[in-house]
Amino acid sequence: MSLNPKNQRLIWSRFQKAVFRIVFVYFILQIIPIDWKFYRYIFSVNWRHLYYGDIFNLAHYMPQFVAGGESFADWGIVLLIATVIATIWWLTDKNKDRDFKILYYWLRVLLRFRLAVALLAYGFIKLFPMLAPYPSISNLNTSYGDFNLWKLFSLTLGIVPAYQSFLGFTEIMLALGLLYRKTASIAAFLIIIFAGNVFMSNLAYEGGEYVYCLFLLSMSFFILLFDLERIVQLLIFQKPTAPNYFKPVFNLRWQKYGRWTLKAGFILFFVIIYGFKTRNGYYYDNYQIPVTKGLPGSSGFYNVEEFILNKDTIAYSKTHPKRWSDVVFENWNTISIASNREVIIDSTNINRIYKENNNRIYELQGSAGRHYYSYEADSVNHILTLQNRNPNYKDEILVFRYENPNDSTFILAGIDQNKDSVFATLRRVDKKYLLKVIQKQKRGRKLKL
């Protein structure tokens, strides 16, 4: 499409009109839910007690035809269907030289709001920094080289909640910019810079969201396209530039009220309600962390002072396949055990929000060096039942009788996943983490640690 400088009319060539038909159908198929899985999810949601995770997961919608994660193959299928439909549309259309300006306008409106939903969904779980939580005690006691790229990227963000909030705030502001016609292109331009960076990060850190991210970028480009020529004309060629003269005029009352109702409803649901729910989530139910509390007073890092395997005492060893070297009790009901035993890591590297504890496995995603167990404590009979949290080891169950001779000691006796009998004395180590110490003191000072 090009602007005729003489009369500023949008003159579309026949080719452009043909392309528009395809693009139109393509985007409609991408953003209007046609996937039955979307509706299955809709019906599974408890709308009376709406959970922020449900809004997030629904906002993440993209049609999926190919099993196993979002992929560009789905885009290919959508494009194919779009081409077929557009061709049929053209063949059956009586007015082959149809003017698409109005349809173009409304498609842009739909994409603006679709993109805003996506940004708000991510923006709020960053504004209330849940996406990348602060590293757990186990994570702090794992070697740098034992994490995968994506986990390190996420942990790096997790140590600075204020920065994460800032990123979320920026995203929300850009989303709000999309809601107004006059600022939509400026917002889209800035979103390209912002989401472009996220996309590059996904590629470089082997994140699982690069397809979705490119989807957001494609919408941003489409939104910007409307004003791109004007921007280039004004700022690069530095020539006199005519503004957009095309604007919808709503004369009928129902049009005016309908428009305001939709807009207000959108802001109420995706900004106010969702924002409030994520805030509550941040304070009471961070989705990356199991919600069940751990044994009171147990949290900390423990050195395994004594380790007896089937009646053989095994000395400290970094190479022994079964000797535990240290154990962490988290604030929630997770115990992690470090040993020389191999870990097949979970590395899907995508972000979805789950209510159930056993799906909240952020703490072990992309992390080797330790095995993570959720536990149930029977505090009457002093029995700990451990279950491996890693989906690759989900059948592993360990049962121990435990004793606390004092505040800083655990004595465990029981059987591990191999039916070996294990006796271990765990002694709490009062570890000082440079990461935390340095955030409390000024950097210029001398420090011994």
């Binding site: 006199p240 604007k247 420090l447």
Partner: protein
């Protein structure tokens, strides 16, 4: 629904005519008094922060050997401290997070701007406008920001600013690393991302060198460096002032565009951009313009690209440049440890016994002891040519990890080791005057005081840095300067290695190494306290989840 009226041909003509009027009325109109005052203040402030204020910079730049360039020579030209600093860099005794210099410069500019106004009014020489001077100010800022960010960006285009973690760092626990270091490493582990960031920076800088792409370059610079400012504040990265500097310059360049964008998109009015460009009517002016521009571009793009490539390929500036002993490299578990012939059994809590030994690709030995150690909390960057002063691998990491730089006499299988940690690291970024900005003289005196408790003015004797190593061994070791590819042996490297090491007091060990099959190594000799050591190391095949990128700098 109706669509509002479209503009027709006549209306367009009228709009264009209005636009021409606008040019006459807005561009060539006399400036208002407050505009002139603001401009004078802005001019003084911006000129002050666009020219170097550090004598050291002039010294370094004038002494550049253009026949044997090091990437750092160009980096130094591009990176300098600026602003009014002869009153010091603190305001009422406060550094204001490093921004005190900006405040002082701004106050000076405000005073000078008003004085200027008074003087021209008294002399009745007040100008109508400053269009030409404004153009030249923008040009100065464009070049300052462009060259500055290109200098910064190239160390990322060839990813050496944030190196991939060494074995010692990979073995460090996440909680034992500072936030700053964690951020730096997070970029280091993804070299392709670092390249992307570098391309954005160098790209923004390049766009600033041309008038028509200045807006685009400024937007990119503003967004990219704005993020870096926030990152530096969040992670205590220490480069927040220097990155804010570019944000400020970019913001200045964007001032002229904001009204246009507002008018075209928010008010939706016909917009006529007014850009005042002086006409270069004389031939010499045209040649001078083309000449200066061409030289700038040739030096800071193709030449810089080549020098940075050489640096990445043979001499990555944050890592030691020489290769380590090949048969030793790897991860080891300490199977037996004897101190003065007494066996100390393994316990992770023992404060003397070594744990987790590594020999890096370069000449560094690392090990852990369970004991608090004084830490070097700097960013570990800087302009050091000498391997022992390249401390990125030790800075901001705790957990009892120590690192020793070694010189290997491979004939007698002996390592001469020196602690990479030193209480006061050498001056970094001397040209810029930032980042551990201590001059060598200050350093020596302070260091002597700390170590010997003596007077400030003790003159330490400059000494040959190799004088503790026997002559025969030195002959076998060879000259450190030439331990890298000849292409990377520059005048700067030779000069710096030739300087006597008068600022060093380091802990030292001499250890013989013996290995039969490369799996088991025996180290024996004396440690820093002259105690005898006997250590049996067994190689372990440590499998890291973090995969090393194929894009590795250096030649080891």
């Amino acid at each position: 629904m109706k669509i509002s009226n479209r503009i027709d041909a006549d209306e367009y003509e009228r709009a264009l005519e209005t636009g021409r009027e606008q040019i006459k009325t807005t561009a060539l109109r006399p400036w208002k008094q407050y505009e002139k005052i603001l401009f004078r203040i802005g001019l003084i402030f911006l000129v002050a922060i666009c020219i170097p204020n550090n004598p050291e910079w002039f010294k370094l730049v004038l002494n550049i050997d253009w026949s044997s360039l090091n990437y750092r020579d160009l980096y130094d030209i591009a990176r300098f401290g600026s602003g009014i600093n002869f009153l010091g860099d603190s305001f009422l005794g406060k550094s204001l997070g490093g921004y005190a210099n900006w405040l002082i410069t701004a106050i000076a500019a405000i005073i000078a701007g008003f004085l200027w106004t008074v003087v021209v009014r008294l002399l009745r020489k007040d100008r109508k406008e400053y269009n030409t001077l404004y153009y030249w100010l923008r040009t100065l800022v464009r070049y300052r920001a462009g060259i500055g960010i290109i200098g910064f960006g190239f160390t990322k285009v060839f990813p050496v600013q944030m190196p991939f973690p060494s074995l010692g760092m990979l073995n460090a626990d996440f909680g034992d690393i500072t936030a700053q270091k964690i951020y730096w490493l997070s970029v280091g582990i993804a070299p392709w991302y670092q390249i992307f960031a570098g391309v954005v920076e160098v790209g923004a800088g390049t766009l600033l060198l041309f008038r028509r792409t200045t807006t685009l370059g400024s937007v990119l610079l503003f967004a990219a460096l704005g993020d870096i400012v926030i990152v530096n504040v969040a992670y205590s990265g220490g480069v927040h002032v220097y990155s804010s500097y570019f944000v400020l310059l970019a913001a200045f360049l964007l001032i002229a565009d904001v009204p246009k964008i507002y008018k075209l998109f928010i008010k939706e009015e016909f917009t006529v951009p007014v850009n005042y460009y002086p006409a270069f009517s004389k031939v010499w002016q045209r040649w001078a313009r083309i000449g200066i521009k061409t030289v700038t571009i040739l030096i800071f793009l193709p030449l810089f690209f080549y020098l940075q490539y050489i640096n990445w390929r043979y001499d990555p500036y944050k890592l030691p440049s020489a290769a380590g002993v090949k048969e030793l490299r790897g991860n080891y578990t300490v199977t037996e440890f004897r101190l003065n012939d007494k066996v100390i059994p393994y316990s992770p809590l023992d404060s003397v016994r070594w744990q987790d030994v590594t020999f890096e690709k370069w000449p560094t030995l690392t090990f852990k002891v369970n004991k608090p150690l004084p830490l070097d909390l700097s960013n570990g960057g800087g302009d050091s040519q000498r391997d022992i002063d390249r401390t990125f691998e030790i800075t901001a990491i705790a957990g009892g990890q120590r690192a020793f730089h070694y010189l290997a006499d491979e004939v007698n299988k002996t390592l001469y080791l020196q602690d990479k940690y030193t209480p006061l690291p050498i001056a970094r970024n001397r040209a810029a005057g930032v980042g551990g900005a201590v001059g060598p003289t200050w350093n020596v005196k302070k260091q002597n005081k700390i170590i010997y408790g003596g007077e400030d003015d003790i003159e330490s004797e400059a000494y040959d840095q190799y004088n503790w190593i026997p002559k025969e061994a030195l002959a076998n070791i060879g000259n450190e300067v030439y331990k890298i590819n000849p292409k990377a042996v520059t005048t700067r490297r030779i000069k710096e290695y030739a300087e006597p090491a008068n600022d060093e007091v380091r802990k030292r060990m001499v250890l013989k190494y013996d290995t039969l099959d490369g799996q088991r190594i025996i180290l024996s000799g004396t440690d820093e306290n002259n105690d005898s050591l006997y250590i049996l190391l067994d190689r372990i095949d440590r499998k890291y989840t973090l995969k090393e990128s194929s894009l590795q700098p250096g030649e080891y």
